[in-house]
């Protein structure tokens, strides 16, 4: 455990030093403020919109951005150390492979978690301060859920990038795999589901459809943030189908947690068998 914490500490300090934390925080904060401000532009006015609308637009954008950032942050975590030659050295230290993986993940998770929290919390504060209608009390609960689930989404894609990094033997290949994973989960998967739905004219078994949505962490994230608001759910197209059956938020969050643990466990198993 001591060794894992040492690795996590180094990884986190690296994140501070090469400005990852700062960059991600700024991106999230500006994105959230901009969406809150211009969110109503479609309806012909500029100014802060309803919290539910803001969160809905934030969630749709976060679904694209957070996986991309998480994959970029950690796709080379293991294969990069391998190519650099430092993995060989680390393996001669009193540090198990699982310990190294856990330590690096904790460091990256801290980077991702801290910047998500900071970025969106700053945005939340800005909305409270400058929007006359928004009150802290009304904002805290939905925003906390949004930030919490966004952090979990980030961690689940971090876990996926660790799996990629443990499998790949070249950094360039790992980058390609990361891009593929992003395409698959963020773009292709939903489009395919939509295609099936349209092609079969909605004659898909509903419980099967529910299961299909759970196979993708981005869909779980969407469900958590969209089901809470009825008006949003109606406006969000395909997901409206899923929301007809009520999901418990706790259950969805547990599922997202599974999306962190499972890829990490597989990554650890792959890493143990990897020849350095």
């Amino acid at each position: 455990m001591h060794e894992s914490l040492v690795v996590a500490g180094k990884e986190f300090r690296d994140g501070l030093r090469n400005r990852w934390v700062l960059a991600i925080t700024l991106v999230f904060a500006m994105l959230a403020i901009a969406l809150a401000w211009f969110g109503a532009a479609v309806s012909g006015e500029v100014g802060f919109t309803r919290v539910s609308t803001t969160i809905a637009s934030l969630a749709s954008l976060a679904v694209f951005l957070i996986p991309l950032i998480a994959l970029m942050l950690a796709y080379d975590s293991i294969v990069g150390e391998d190519e650099n030659g430092t993995l060989l050295l680390l393996m001669t230290y009193p540090l198990s492979r699982t310990g190294l993986l856990a330590g690096k993940f904790m460091g990256h998770a801290a980077i991702m978690g801290l910047s998500t929290l900071l970025g969106f919390a700053i945005a939340g504060l800005v909305i409270v301060v400058f929007d006359a209608e928004a009150t802290l009390a009304a904002l805290v609960s939905p925003f906390s859920l949004f930030i919490g689930s966004a952090i979990l989404l980030g961690w689940s894609f971090l876990a996926l990038s660790y799996l990629i990094s443990a499998i790949a033997h070249e950094k360039a290949r790992a980058a390609g795999m990361a891009l593929f994973v992003w395409f698959l989960f963020v773009l292709v998967y939903d489009l395919t589901l939509l295609g099936i739905l349209v092609g079969t004219e909605g004659q898909v078994n509903e419980s099967l459809f529910q299961v299909l949505l759970m196979i993708n962490p981005t869909d779980i994230f969407r469900l958590i943030n969209l089901t809470g608001f009825e008006q949003v759910a109606q406006a969000s197209g395909m997901l409206a189908i899923a929301t007809s059956e009520s999901h418990s938020v706790a259950g969805l969050i547990a599922l997202l947690g599974l999306w962190i643990i499972a890829p990490l466990a597989i990554a650890a198993a792959v890493f143990r068998r990897r020849r350095t």
Binding site: E3, V6, V7, G85, L89, T92, Y93, T276
Partner: protein, 310 residues
């Protein structure tokens, strides 16, 4: 007393390459062993097996009597130091930060870091990023890293490759100091000269097999390699062309008025006595067979044997 390292019938094959076959080798306590051989002879593989990074295909590795891949490996690794071939570090960290990181992983107190940086002569550059380091400085940092926690066994893979003579001398000086303190050391090298006076014993590897091992003296007599005597005369005089001494196997005149003689080790004194009586003698130098010639001898023996490469 258990040996520091014991390798028994050790083989390691991967993807069709027989990196190491049936290697038997031991390193006694406080002994310095030179692991010699060409690139691909199996030196690095042997070290990685000792470190527990690679799993042996067959055979047994014991370090301080324990399995380096066993449950006690964490404790074992606290007592090991390793300098990999072409060592590299985190370029965006300073030398001190890199060493502090590795010290924490090995649970070595932070004050060791400054002591080691001074010992390897990096204290002036400790706060510079490793990116700006020269090859020699990286190697020094690598050595400092290997020395963290005063290891009882040190594995140095090609520690002097690419270093200038000064840095090479420093590396060997450090090795001599550690040797005096009783640290078991294994140094691999394909640069043969220079290593001789710093090792107790050498093991010559070729094609993944042990070709020969023993003290350099023992190997020399085993190979029965002749030594070279170089005599120079005054420009005005001449040496007799033939019949200097019956024990001389070969005599080649060279441009600077000297004669290069090949003599069997056992005839050395008799021949020298004769040579010293020559009129007009200006200088005599004796060159014992180097490891280079030794290596060539054992390597040829292997190639003639032929079968082991199959």
């Amino acid at each position: 007393m258990t040996n520091t390292v014991d390798l028994e019938q050790l083989s390691c094959h991967f993807s069709g390459v027989r990196a190491l076959s049936d290697l038997n080798l031991a390193l006694g306590e406080g002994e310095v062993l030179g692991l010699l051989g060409h690139n691909g002879a199996g030196k690095s593989t042997a070290m990685k097996l000792i470190l527990g990074i690679l799993t042996p295909t067959s055979g047994r590795v014991r370090v301080f009597g324990e399995d380096p891949r066993g449950p006690g490996s964490g404790q074992l690794r606290m007592q090991l130091g390793y300098l990999p071939e072409n060592v590299s570090f985190y370029d965006n960290l300073s030398g001190r930060e890199v060493l502090t990181y590795f010290a924490r992983l090995k649970r070595v107190p932070p004050k060791e870091v400054n002591r080691l940086l001074t010992q390897v002569g990096l204290d002036h550059a400790a706060n510079r990023r490793v990116r700006t380091y020269s090859k020699g400085m990286r190697q020094r940092l690598g050595l400092a890293q290997a020395l963290l926690g005063e290891p009882r066994l040190l594995l140095l893979d090609e520690p002097t490759v690419g270093l200038d003579p000064m840095a090479t001398r420093d590396v060997y000086q450090t090795i001599d100091e550690l040797r005096a303190r009783g640290t078991g050391i294994m140094i691999s090298s394909h640069v043969l000269p220079g290593i001789e006076q710093h090792v107790d014993r050498v093991a010559i590897l070729g094609g993944g097999s042990l070709l020969a091992s023993g003290t350099i003296e023992a190997l020399r007599s085993q190979a029965e390699l002749p030594l070279t005597i170089r005599v120079r005369r005054q420009p005005s005089t001449r040496f007799p062309d033939t019949g200097l001494h019956p024990a001389i196997q070969d005599a080649i005149p060279e441009a600077d008025n000297s004669l290069v003689l090949t003599v069997a080790t056992r005839d050395k004194i008799r021949v020298l006595n004769e040579l010293l009586n020559l009129a007009g003698l200006e200088d005599v130098t004796i060159e014992p067979p180097t490891l280079e010639t030794l290596y060539a001898h054992f390597d040829t023996e292997l190639n003639e044997g032929g079968t082991r490469y199959a």
